[in-house]
Structures are given as structure tokens and as C-alpha cells.
Amino acid sequence: MARRIKLSVENLSKTFRVSAGRGAPPSLLPVLRNISFQVREGDIVSLIGESGCGKTTLLRIVQGLVARDAGNVKVDGKPVSAPGQDRGFVFQQASLLPWRSARENVEFGLELRRVPADVRRQRAAELLKLVGLGAAGEQYAHQLSGGMQQRVGLARALAIDPALLLMDEPFSALDAQTREELQAELLRIQSKTGKTVLFVTHDLDEAIYLSDQIVVLGARPSRVKTIIDVPFPRPRPPLSKLRGEPRFQQIRDEVWELISQKTAAVA
């Protein structure tokens, strides 16, 4: 099935300049080296790699929050380098605006686009319902549980109807049960909206359960080690059930092997 390429990351490199204290010249921290991969329309692709390997940096470059040193990011074939509402971002800490209610948070991106209030309100109500928060619209962020906050964060990103959804370990701060609940929710919402998703995680099971493809990054400065196809058809059974499948274990072992083996240092 030849689907369109939604996101294409080409030969992306990034080196941070880290200040080494007073007077000293800044030291260079190469984080990403020559990263290339593509995401097809309607797919969920996970980026996985050990902590500090540059997953967040890569996602922020795609969003346009961090400048790249080299390479290209194309959404629908068009190169992007600044933030835009064609991409929706879901943060690790939900990062809701605490002085706004859940509904007002969802409306944020639409407000920036000067969408009229009644249209915004209606859209926010739809989205809150979609993420299972139909009744909590008027609550402030701190009145919501962590899982509910992430749902609002997802609704906020979906509200602007982005071509691409970028999610940075959105469930990593949640307890195991809530995490599985939200993973299943994400699959349901994704199949309903048909969104293309680039999902950062360091949780193997999560990556396999959610993804059509897993992009495995090596240790810093990271390159793409492998891209693994996850063949389970959708809709998928609950994670607890999928885990029992031999193919699941096989993929898990394979990715685990790749992540844990230290890359031979390439200078």
C-alpha cells in the first residue's frame, strides 16, 4: 500500500554548544548525526533510544523549536524550519496553562488563529469529548489528574487539526495502569482522526504497541540504527494481550538488543 510521505527527515545533524563555565570556550556536544527517516501518512512512528540520546532534541527540531545545523525537515514535501500549526506538539509534562480551564487550554491554538469564540468553544467541546473529558471542561489544570492533564494536552494539540502530531514521552510520568489506558485511547483517537504521529518514548512495550514503525536511535551522538516494522494489524488488542504473542516478544528482543549494545564509537 503506497501511502504519501507525511514527514521526511533528511540528514539531520545537531551539535549543542555548551558553556563550560566562566571564560572557558564553549564545549561542543554533538547530539544528532545524519538522521534520516520518513513517516507515512496515517502511521504512528516511534523514536526510541536511551536517555540523553537526543530524542527530544529531534522532536523539537521537527517542531521548529530548536534550530538544526544541517539537513532538512519536510512536512508534506515542504521544508519547515519554524514552528507552525501544521504540527501539533504534546509535551512530556502536560504543560497546561494553569490559569486556564481545560476547555480554554484546548482553545489556545485556535485563539492564536483568531477563530471566533463560539466556533472555538464548540471545537473544544468536541475534542474534550473525544479524549474522554466531556465533563471536565471547566476545571483548572491542577484540579485534574496527571492522566487527565495529558488528555487535555492531546486535545489541545488536536484542536488545531495538525497534519502531524508530535508527542514527547507524553505518558512516561503516569502510573502503569493510567499509561496503558492512555495508550489504548491514543490508538482509538488516532484511528478515528487518521492523524500521523511521531512518538518519542523509551518504553519498548509502548513503542511496539503503538507503532507501525520504530526508529531505533543509537547512543549520543545518535544515528538511526535500524527502522523496524511492526506488523500487527489495527485495531490492535489490548497491550496485555498483545504481549502474549510470540511476534511481540521477538520484536521486543530485537529492539532491546539494538538499544543495549553500545555503538562502536564512530568519530
Partner: protein, 278 residues
């Protein structure tokens, strides 16, 4: 958010160690019981004041019923109202001026590093200068009338608000600015929809601090320039050795301060409602 609250109460406490009676009364004994204790305490203190005040030489001390009589007299002859209006005029004009200048300047200094570098040294210098000390100079510039008073009180009001607003802008969590950036917000929208609302609790803390200082500055200005307003009443009856009557404007000023404080608090509950939900 807890770190943020802590930072906030830090700012609150930096300049005044006032105890917030309402905030403390949240757990333990019931509100009703606490109010009974409070009323009993008030009655006891007033009673003791009345008793011991009557024993003392009326030149050195007065007592509640005498003050109440003087109060009625001052109301009847119109002196108190006239003085109050004069004082309030200075206070309101200065407060509005000081608040607007403090908030706007604070937002700009907090957000723009270049602007900050060009004015932060003036702010530090003026902040550390006791405003009363330059009063003689201000009198030379502006004369003994209203402008001098307004200048002094405005200068007093500006700084707590300015300093707090700067802190508020600088303490906007980076993640929240990130949200604005990620959603491609313009600089203007980031300012209005993220920085401003995030700094509001700090701003109001600054306004609350400045209320008390404004009343003090007002009285000082009324003592040392063209004698007028409530400050003038204090001087007048002090000079006449009429201690009971002298207490009337003093208590009026105290009431004014309390009223303004609770006004600022009410504004806080409205403007930063999200911080008061649980």
C-alpha cells in the same frame, strides 16, 4: 506549582512580615470558634485600654470612649471628611500612576534584556534610596503643593510593584513559553496570553506591598510639605496637646490601610482565581 507558590510567598514576605489571618485559619479549630476568640480579644484589649487610659494623664494617652467623642466632633464640624478627601485625592492619583508605571515598566524590563540593561541600574539606585531623604530636593523642584506629595507617594508605590512584576516575568516557567512557541504564537500573543497571566499573582503581591507603603509616604508628605489632609490633622491636634482628637486621623489612616489591603486581596481573588481553587 509548589515551587512557584513558595517563590511567591517569598516575594510577599520579603518586605512585610504581615500575618495573613484568613489564610492561617484553614485547619484545626472551627472558623466560628476562632472568630469568638478574636472578638473576645478585641473586647479585652479595648477594655484594658479604656481602663488604663483613664488613669493616665490625658496628654500622654487617650482611651477609646474619648477618641469616639472626638471622632463625632470631627465628623460634625466637617474637618475629618475634608481632610480625608484631600488625602484620598493624593493617594488615588499616586496609586494609579505608580501602579501603571510599575506594571508596564516591570513587564518590559522583565522581558527585554536590552531594555533591562539600560535601566536596571537606575531602578536599583532609586529603589535603595530612601524616598523621604530626597524630599527636600523634591520640594525645591516641585514646590510645597500637591505635585510634591504625588511625586513622593508615586515613587513609593512604583518600586514594590516594579520589582515584583520583573520577578513575575522572569519566573514564567520556560515550559509555558515553549507552549506558545510550539503553537507558533506571535511575540504579542506570548506576552498577552502567557507572560502577563503568569505574572499576575506577582503583580498583585507587589500592589499589596505598596498599599501599606503608600499610606506611610502620604502621611510623611503631609507632615513635611504644605500641611494638609489627615497628616495635617494629626499635627494640628498634636500641637494642641489634644491627644484624643489626634488619634482620630491616625485611626482613620489605619482603617484606610486595612481597607485598601482587603481591596487588593479581593482583586487578587478575582484576577488570579485559579490559584484559589482546590
Amino acid at each position: 506549582m509548589t515551587a512557584r507558590d513558595a517563590a511567591l510567598s517569598g516575594a510577599d514576605l520579603k518586605e512585610s512580615a504581615e500575618i495573613d489571618v484568613e489564610d492561617i485559619a484553614t485547619s484545626g479549630p472551627s472558623n466560628r470558634e476562632l472568630w469568638c476568640i478574636r472578638v473576645a480579644s478585641i473586647i479585652f484589649v479595648l477594655g484594658a485600654w479604656e481602663y488604663f487610659g483613664r488613669q493616665a494623664n490625658p496628654l500622654f494617652a487617650s482611651y477609646p470612649t474619648a477618641i469616639a467623642r472626638s471622632f463625632v466632633t470631627l465628623i460634625e464640624n466637617g474637618e475629618l471628611i475634608a481632610a480625608l478627601i484631600t488625602s484620598l485625592k493624593t493617594l488615588v492619583i499616586s496609586f494609579v500612576l505608580g501602579t501603571v508605571i510599575g506594571l508596564v515598566l516591570g513587564l518590559l524590563v522583565g522581558r527585554y534584556r536590552r531594555f533591562e540593561a539600560s535601566v536596571d541600574w537606575i531602578i536599583s539606585a532609586l529603589y535603595s534610596t530612601p524616598k523621604v531623604a530626597i524630599l527636600p530636593l523634591i520640594v525645591l523642584w516641585l514646590g510645597l503643593g500637591a505635585p510634591t506629595k504625588i511625586f513622593l507617594v508615586t515613587m513609593t508605590v512604583i518600586f514594590p510593584i516594579l520589582i515584583n512584576t520583573i520577578a513575575g516575568v522572569k519566573n514564567v516557567p520556560a515550559q509555558l513559553i515553549d507552549v506558545g512557541d510550539a503553537f507558533a504564537a506571535s511575540e504579542r500573543d506570548i506576552f498577552l496570553k502567557i507572560i502577563l497571566p503568569s505574572a499576575i499573582p506577582y503583580m498583585i503581591a507587589g500592589i499589596r506591598l505598596s498599599v501599606g507603603k503608600a499610606v506611610i509616604a502620604l502621611v510623611v508628605a503631609e507632615f513635611f510639605t504644605a500641611i494638609s489632609g489627615l497628616g495635617a490633622l494629626i499635627t494640628k491636634y498634636g500641637n494642641m496637646y489634644d491627644t484624643a482628637t489626634m488619634f482620630v486621623p491616625i485611626l482613620t489612616l489605619m482603617l484606610l490601610g486595612v481597607l485598601l489591603q482587603s481591596g487588593a486581596k479581593a482583586a487578587e481573588k478575582r484576577l488570579a482565581a485559579w490559584r484559589f481553587t482546590d
